[in-house]
Amino acid sequence: MRRNRFIFFMILPAILFPIIFTYYPMVKGAMMAFQSYNLMNVKNIKWIGLDNFRKLFAQNTSNNFYTTMFNTVKWVGISLSAQFLVGFSMALILKKKFKGSSLYQGLIFFPWAVSGFIIGIMWRWMFNGTSGVINDILMKMHLISQPVGWLASKNTALYSCIAANIWYGIPFFTIMITAALRGVSQDLYEAADVDGASPVQKFIHITVPCIRSVLLLTVLLRVIWIFNFPDLIYSMTQGGPAGSSHIITSYMMQLVQSLDYGLASAVGVLCILFLAMFAAIYLAATKYTDTEV
């Protein structure tokens, strides 16, 4: 009994906060998805069932929702892979401490320290088609002959945003994985050395299993966070040109600005459903919940 009470009270604050400040507003907000909640005329709010959702999936020229969904996949997929690979590699190099490694770690951490919307603005300025520094450098290196409108072309807009996002997200992986790697006990490696294991073997059989739970978690969290990170896109391109760089969450921001809270909430509900499904599949596939040390 003492044990159960202990557990209960330890968990209580962590549950209470979200319930009051996240779930309660969320439920109220989600209800708007089923109403024609338009701030142009709040006297006209009525329940319309699934109409908002139907509108989202309708096929017509001005509806970009399918492109948006595809963009979201690209956004998350490419950003995550690049951030993970680079972050992991850097963590491997940094795992052994050396003179100045603390300072180094402090420095490469900086991208994370800046807010999403500032990064968007910074990179928007750097990618600027007529006076941007990226164009300047590329021209000086003779890779291009004329300034390129990175954010003006449908082909490059989204990828420019992704580049900025990769730059932003690498520190997270680096720091998390470095901390995890350093937590692996040296004894294990020494024992393997005695057995004559090669570096690759040591990596596969000691390093990876030990940090597996942290790795899996970090990846899952980052998927969720990258998905929910529209600030960068919104300040870089506002989803343009022609909606080609919108992801679901930045599209939702735009809907909020257009005062159609009903439609925006519908998009939000879809986001939650999608992420929940993804998480469920992910956890089952990686058998995360079976992980025990």
């Binding site: 338009n38 142009m40 020229t61 001005s62 088609g129 040109p241 022609a242």
Partner: protein
């Protein structure tokens, strides 16, 4: 270990004490007792403070088109008012411009926190339909300065036919800025029509030296420029009403988008973009357009009077000139007369005092001063007498335009429709698709036509 815990605790304590000290003190009073603290420090929920012995009142004004310079001017005017009315305190709330309208919407939905809000042409319909702002007609009737209001000002006050919902503080009338030094170099004359702009643009555009003819607005609100081109092509006669200029006169909801002149105009618009503007400009908004001009990338810019201040600050006087809005084949130059002003919330606890301050803000002296500092067109016809700024110099151009109303006309997109909010978010994307050849001119015009025909069917005739 212990040392670490202590340091952490100490840090927290210090921060809570030091930073929190000042904040929590006001925070507490603000949260629990709005009365005392609010009067002098402006904490939450300040709209209504009534003391038993009857006078101390706080009026909260919320800005939308915030800028540090303008806030300072408002503060000056507010201080003047406070000096004359010692029992009244004016609080000015200045949210960041990007999110200000969203913030104001929240406050209005919640029916608290504001007495006066900045109402824009794009938000007046929303606020009025929802009964969030009050009808000011009774106060205006008793106003001694109402006689000197300009015609435009009157039009705006009665923008919505069922009441006087705002008193404008100024107008954003666009003019044509151009690089007179580049033009002289190439031997070009002052541009007066859209065709002149195109021709000059062709002569000047040289991508290799990063020079272009025209600052194109392909980003947010770019559709407004396309509209002015259409109107300059078809002329005012065919429009149903200046404020509902998408519809044809006596057309029962037929739109202008079916006219052949509009198709021609659309082609012109696209040619202008492709041949005289930087590629990047497909995403250009207000700031990029202005920077393109001021930074030496483009030779021509059509923008609001506020840009006069930027140009004066960042360029030499002999480098730029400001001339009237360009004319189209119809012989008329048509542009929207953007406006913004002050409205009183419907839930204010002190309507009399609030209205009084609102009118004070809008009287000839204050408004002229405000318009001069903020670079908008004032609302009183006496402005030119009060300040030479408006009768000479760059600004005089606007007064000139006002004197020739047959040529320089105003028209606007139908913002009074609820559908406009959705339109605003989709239309720019459609234009971008057209400009990048993703859809054809017929596709675009068809979309526009269908959208507004539908809106007319759903909401009826609203002008």
């Amino acid at each position: 270990m212990k040392k670490r815990q202590w340091t952490a605790l100490l840090l927290t304590a210090v921060m809570l004490a030091g930073c929190g000290g000042g904040n929590t003190a006001t925070g507490t009073s603000g949260a629990s007792d709005g009365t005392t603290a609010a009067a002098s420090e402006g904490a939450a929920d300040t709209s209504a403070e009534v003391k038993a012995d009857g006078e101390a009142i706080t009026i909260t004004l919320v800005e939308s088109l915030t800028s540090p310079e303008r806030t300072a001017v408002l503060r000056e005017i507010a201080d003047k008012y406070q000096a004359e009315h010692p029992n009244i305190t004016i609080d000015i709330i200045s949210p960041p411009l990007e999110n200000a309208d969203a913030k104001i919407t929240q406050m209005l939905m919640n029916q608290s926190g504001a007495d006066i809000v900045e109402v824009r042409d794009s938000t007046v319909t929303q606020y009025a339909t929802n009964d969030w702002i009050a009808d000011l007609q009774q106060y205006i009737d008793g106003w001694e300065e109402k006689g000197t209001l300009t015609e435009s000002a009157d039009e705006v006050i009665h923008y919505l036919s069922d009441g006087a919902y705002l008193i404008p503080y100024g107008f954003y009338q666009r003019g044509l800025f151009y690089r007179i030094d580049w033009f002289t170099e190439k031997g070009l004359d002052q541009p007066e029509t859209w065709q002149d702009i195109y021709d000059a643009g062709m002569a000047i555009t040289d991508p290799s030296s990063s020079r272009y003819g025209y600052s194109f607005r392909g980003g947010t609100s770019g559709y407004q420029y396309a509209d002015t081109v259409y109107w300059s092509w078809i002329g005012m006669d065919q429009l149903a009403h200046p404020n509902a200029a998408y519809f044809l006169k006596d057309g029962n909801g037929a739109t202008i988008f079916t006219l052949p002149e509009v198709k021609e105009a659309l082609h012109f618009y696209k040619d202008l973009f492709k041949n005289t503007c930087p590629l990047d400009s497909i995403a250009w908004g207000f700031s990029e357009m202005v920077q393109g001009f001021v930074g030496g990338t483009t030779a021509m810019l059509i923008q609001d009077p506020e840009v006069i201040a930027t140009c004066s600050a960042d360029m030499q006087d002999d480098q730029w000139a400001l001339v009237p809005f360009p004319k189209g084949p119809s012989g008329q130059a048509v542009s929207p007369n953007g406006f913004a002003g002050w409205g009183m919330t419907s839930f204010t606890a002190h309507p009399e005092e609030t209205a009084d301050f609102l009118l004070f803000l809008s009287n000839a002296d204050n408004n002229t001063y405000f318009a001069k500092s903020y670079s908008t067109i004032p609302i009183h016809s006496t402005a030119a007498e009060k300040d030479v700024y408006f009768s000479e110099g760059r600004f005089a151009m606007y007064m000139q335009m006002a004197e020739d109303p047959d040529v320089y006309c105003h028209a606007a997109y139908p913002q009074m429709y609820e559908a406009f909010a959705t339109y605003k978010t989709e239309v720019d994307m459609m234009y971008q698709k057209y400009l990048t050849d993703e859809i054809s001119d017929d596709d675009l015009l068809q979309w526009l036509d269908e959208f507004w025909t539908q809106a007319y069917q759903n909401e009826g005739q609203k002008w």
